[in-house]
Symmetry: C2
Subunit: 763 residues, 2 copies
């Protein structure tokens, strides 16, 4: 038996003696593995197209709606690894979203009729565009169930704003953006009276229920929607669905599908045929064609009516001013998609086998000539389908949504009933290829495929059913996003990705190089307002104020302690705790919670966060850092002491620890020994071209940050030693060592990095 | 230009004419791809070891804590694809968890001091065992922040129970199970007074603050913890941490680590050294050794004290009865892990370079001989470390947690500060291999590696920092779970998996073949109680009751309509809606929400769910199915009409649709034509050995379910036609076609499946 350790000084002394990391490879060959795992050559090819080795990056980043999870899902392509779920409409404690005061303020913007709505049915993410191209700055997402739109900033991947639609009761068809993100727009879905809380019976559906389009003005500089400069266009009760903005020649116009233009009202419990029969009885629905630029001018000119305090351009005005038209479109369509060059619109009717390609030029020609085949029951001019079509192509069963390739004239359309993707030419009107997917595909998505400049290469099929594709996890199945290689003539299915949470409806993807997220905040930032946080502190400025029954803590977080470590309050006090993460290092997030008080904060480097609660239960409540932020994260703790009314301390001193001079001296030696190790690591790092490695430079900065915190501690422990206070002397020396451990952790990581990445000796 | 479609009858007629799915492969060779993507031969080998082709399954299923997300994460190994996030302590709308009444009742069990706690800090999942082996029946998970334990049933992957710990304020070290899941146990973490809401100042820390171990009695038949038969063992305020149960020779005992056995109280704001210094000042902490079998007998014999109504075996009793012992263990350890054969315990101190292997036999020998080196301040006998150790091995910096291989004597230990995994021999006491991970590994996990029969092959490193491994997604980074192939002498890193939501602490994995989840519920089940739901209905039994101001709807969901389609209430009514999903088909989940009333339900096949709200806002509120359940899912809708007080209908008839005899006849013809298609598909399916394919048999069952719903509709539309009611005649005929479309969808999927899976002609 080996001698057991007497002292932990060996911890860092052993640093140089570890075995080298394994670099030799196992004897199992590629052929062995393929045989063992039953992989075909095709499987191996697919694996090679999707596998991203450690430390390498994905080419594209996808932003998916989370469906009923109320979140946004971020994943990498081609690896199909999910990188983040972002809390949007649903509180999410890991991010502190809805558990700290700053994010509660964002969620509170989404209250409807004065009440919290704690979830959302997110459907269609839209990414900000510049000149019709994805610019990677902002993401917008709707809530169908509770008509709202959220704004996410892609500098920090956080939700910044929620805006309630003032006139709808649902809105499926959004968000979409105009080519320079002047507006973020969304359509109503299920028609209802526009006036809030106004009741009309279903018998007055045709007269009193309405749909509409809302154009939210986006202020790019502020990074927020400006509701006061936003407006809606009143539409008939046709269940407006998805939209797209014109671009290039069609810029200034927007296009919106509809279903149930039959205006059917169901009532199966009264013996009426259900909605599904009555809403799909006719062969065509209406494509809405709206001149949003002119609509905005009309609103500016005061031609809108205020409904619930919001500007609405009434149908009468839109008709009179010539900004609203309808075109028949085959049956219960879902997507309308403008081609990259802006000259055509593609519409697919779910209950028709065709996609219909409309010509924007023909539409304009008909409008200019005043050639309308009829008017709808509300007096809106209806253009001839025949005279505005460029072509129709029979694709298969249940065509739903179309996206575009980087190759000219090439489009992809999902076929729900066929469970297939069709590749086709929308110029020539011919089918090029088909591929089966698993199963029942809803939307599909190509890289930047709904912009003016699609990037090609990959397509994602958003399959609604996965059935047998994955290991079973109970009656509720994951969705299945399948990655398809579209870089060659034949499409190739290369990856099945389960969606573990939520039912995504639509996804947008962007070239990863266009995203420039930050890794830290400027010290003391309120990340939800992007402003300096008034309660931020720098190291040494921490303090606690008490005024009446209000206790306000201005604290800080750093590896591995919380300042303060004790918070004393009286029962019934209102407690506000502000915490600033003093770290600068990438990925050094701290968390914070207080036992049973239902608060949680995620505090990334530089961020200041506030939690607030009423200390209404007397007793003792530990608080701690909820992130595994360092080797001693469990020791990053403190106590909230909630004292009973009238409590008086009888014992006022803490029990002293049993520390000896020998222990103090041992600690001083440990510190000195450890410094030798650190110096040797520093000597190695500075002997090579470490400055050529930005990640290493960041680690070295952080290491010196940590080491810098030992300043003054030597004088401190020596002063206590002089007074023979061995507890304080020992522990302050120990504290130096704690910082040394963190310094060494970083230094060793940097050293390994340099060794593994071919650092070279410098003279 | 092609002629645009006149009627949608072509939908199904086109079925047989689609292009065959692409099966040819692109010209890009494996070498081309490797060159383009910069993959090495080693990368390709790793890809081949982890890629799971479409339709194939993973070998192991991992259950990970979600950390501060308050959830459990389920993923497949080796593909590392996340299959499900299960709502446990945090409401999650996709699953309806916390948004329907049945799951609200589960969450309500987790209230503390009468208040909802809407999140949890989940740490250590434990899987039910039979004879020390993982049996795949139940999963247990703790909440560190708000001391609670949850029970998940792996038949449906749902949370069934939450139990509040009655005496702790935090509990990090749980859950663990005894070898036959007699008990699920957990340790307190931060010491506090055991009496709820009892205040003692920190100056009385040593006297009044306590730790403890709680043993929850698990009733496997009921699938629930029985709090009345559960008990705790009072322990000193030593910050108890992780535990493990003995097995084989050590069955009946449990082992629990601790840190801060210094009992240090910080207070940096008052000039005291922080907790991190004072809690790691001494070279050893205490391993707690408890005879839980005897403890249970003592409790049964009435030797426990009731604290907050819960049985607690006080230290005095435990000492007197000889069931509680301490052994020194080097410095601030995290994991204690019993070897598969139950003969040894492995402890790693985070601030020591060694792992310490204790011999259970030696521990028992010392106890039997009454050989104690000392007593702790509370009178607990302390065994000699030296006399109970089997061996110690110096592994590296920051050893944390150990798991076992299927190979005898082989263990793996995480090294936090070194960012490495060490493979070593715990019998011989020697290091076998090391591998670098990225970065700062906390726990690690091998397949069934904490059971009596580890399965080998894979290891997962749970790295706390990912830093540069993934595409950046803002200041808050994903964690990084790295998959390591341990089947050969040298460990091989084969996959980096980002964790998109939450910070997992520990994971357990099980052979996928051991899990037998269901795909549907027995019709009318309350999934949270596993009992028949009293408000379930079968098709045709739907009804709505109104008593006073209470409206109760007994409804149903099926592709593609909700029954009822209209719910009329008076403002202020209390509305209860029960919905039964009548589907039998796998993956045919429906969702349900009512606009702006903050309710949502996920209703899997067979489930009955209740949502409840007060209709306090007059107006019109659409409701709809939130799942993309069929081509006409958008039409699966209805209206909640909230009438103002005293409202009287003036108009009582709905506008009639404009349908003609010609349209009716066209629909009848469409139905007949479609039936021909269906018959031909049926003819194909029955011409081959489809009964040999269970998935196809399920699809055929479902198809005939759908077609069966057309029963009686022909008579209905003919009767309306006889009365020249062309609207009803047309729409009821259309409804037949809607069922035909669903039938055809299934039939075509079955046909494709059979063609692609080599079905053979039968005579």
């Amino acid at each position: 038996m080996k001698k057991f350790t007497q002292r932990s000084t060996t911890l860092l002394l052993a640093a140089g003696m570890g075995l080298a990391a394994a670099t030799a490879w196992s004897a199992e060959t590629l052929q062995d593995v393929m045989k063992r795992r039953g992989l075909s050559q095709q499987d191996l090819l697919a694996a090679s197209k999707t596998y991203v080795p450690t430390g390498k990056r994905d080419d594209f980043i996808a932003f998916s709606s989370g469906g009923q999870s109320g979140q946004v899902i971020v994943y990498g392509i081609p690896s199909m690894r999910i990188l983040k779920y972002i809390g949007v409409f649903t509180p999410e404690p890991w991010q502190g979203y809805g558990f700290d005061e700053e994010s509660k303020a964002v969620l509170a913007q989404g209250r409807i009729d004065g009440k919290d709505i704690t979830w959302g049915d997110t459907h269609h993410p839209g990414m900000s565009e510049t000149n019709g191209e994805a610019d990677g700055q902002f993401l917008f997402i709707n809530d169908k169930a509770n008509p709202r739109v959220a704004v996410l900033d892609l500098r920090d991947f956080e939700t910044k704003q929620i805006v309630v639609n003032p006139i709808y009761k649902s809105e499926h068809g959004g968000t979409f953006v105009t080519p320079n993100t002047e507006y973020v727009f969304e359509a109503a879905q299920y028609a209802s009276p526009l006036e809030n809380k106004k009741f009309y019976p279903l018998e007055e559906f045709n007269e009193k229920y309405r749909g509409g389009m809302t154009y939210w003005k986006f202020d790019r500089k502020e990074g927020r929607i400006d509701p006061k400069k936003s407006f809606s266009v009143e539409l008939p009760p046709y269940s407006q669905d998805l939209s797209d903005a014109g671009k290039g020649p069609s810029d200034g116009w927007s296009f919106t599908n509809s279903f149930c233009s039959e205006r059917y009202v169901g009532g199966i419990e009264k013996g009426r045929p259900p909605y599904e029969a009555g809403c799909s009885a006719k062969d065509t629905d209406y494509l809405h064609v709206i001149n949003w630029k002119k609509a905005a001018e009309l609103v500016a000119a005061g031609k809108a009516k205020k409904i619930n305090g919001h500007d609405v351009l009434m149908m009468e005005t839109s008709i009179k001013e010539g900004i609203l038209f309808l075109i028949p479109e085959p049956k219960s369509p879902h997507g309308v998609d403008v081609t990259p060059d802006g000259t055509k619109l593609v519409v697919a009717g779910k209950l028709d086998t065709h996609v219909s390609v409309y010509s924007f030029e023909k539409i304009m020609a008909q409008i200019k000539a005043g050639k309308f085949e009829s008017k709808d029951p509300y007096g809106i001019p209806v253009l001839s389908m025949k005279d505005t079509l460029h072509t129709q192509v029979s694709l298969g069963l249940g065509p739903l949504h179309t996206q575009f390739d980087s190759k000219t004239c090439v489009a992809y359309t999902s076929l729900y009933v066929d469970s297939q993707v069709a590749k086709w030419d929308y110029c020539e009107g011919k089918v090029l290829d088909k591929i089966s997917v698993h199963y029942n595909i809803g939307h599909l998505m190509t890289m930047e495929g709904d912009t003016a400049k699609p990037a090609g290469r990959y397509l994602v099929a958003l399959n609604k059913l996965s059935i047998d594709r994955f290991n079973p996890v109970g009656p509720l199945h994951p969705q299945n996003h399948q990655l398809i290689d579209i870089s060659n003539d034949k499409m190739q299915l290369i990856y099945d990705m389960p969606l573990p949470l939520g039912e995504p409806h639509y996804v947008v993807a962007i070239d990863a190089k266009k995203l420039k997220p930050a890794v830290r905040y400027k010290l003391g930032t309120n990340s939800r307002t992007d402003q300096p946080h008034p309660a931020a502190v720098r190291a040494g400025e921490e303090h606690t104020d008490k005024k009446g029954n209000k206790v306000e803590v201005f604290g800080s977080l750093i590896r591995s302690h919380i300042t303060p470590e004790t918070i004393e309050v009286d029962v019934g006090d209102e407690v506000t705790i502000h915490l600033t993460n003093l770290e600068r290092a990438q990925d050094e997030t701290h968390g914070f919670t207080v036992s049973t008080y239902n608060v949680h904060a995620s505090v990334e480097p530089g961020k200041t966060v506030t939690v607030k609660f009423k200390a209404d239960k007397e007793g003792v409540y530990p608080y701690y850092c909820t992130e595994f932020c360092s080797a001693l994260h469990l020791e990053m703790q403190g106590y909230l002491l909630v004292k009973p009314k009238g409590w008086k301390a009888s014992k006022t001193t803490l029990a002293a620890g049993t520390y000896t001079e020998a222990e103090y001296k041992a600690n001083v030696k440990k510190v000195a020994d450890t410094q030798v190790i650190i110096d040797s690591v520093v000597a190695y790092i500075t002997s090579v071209n470490y400055k050529d490695f930005p990640d290493v430079v960041a680690m070295v900065d952080d290491a010196f940050d940590q080491l810098g915190k030992t300043k003054g501690l030597k004088e401190k422990h020596e002063a206590f030693a002089a007074k023979k206070d061995w507890e304080n002397a020992t522990l302050w020396a120990e504290q130096i060592w704690q910082y040394q451990v963190k310094t060494a952790d970083l230094g060793l990581r940097a050293k390994t990095y340099l060794e593994q990445n071919g650092a070279k000796k410098v003279k």
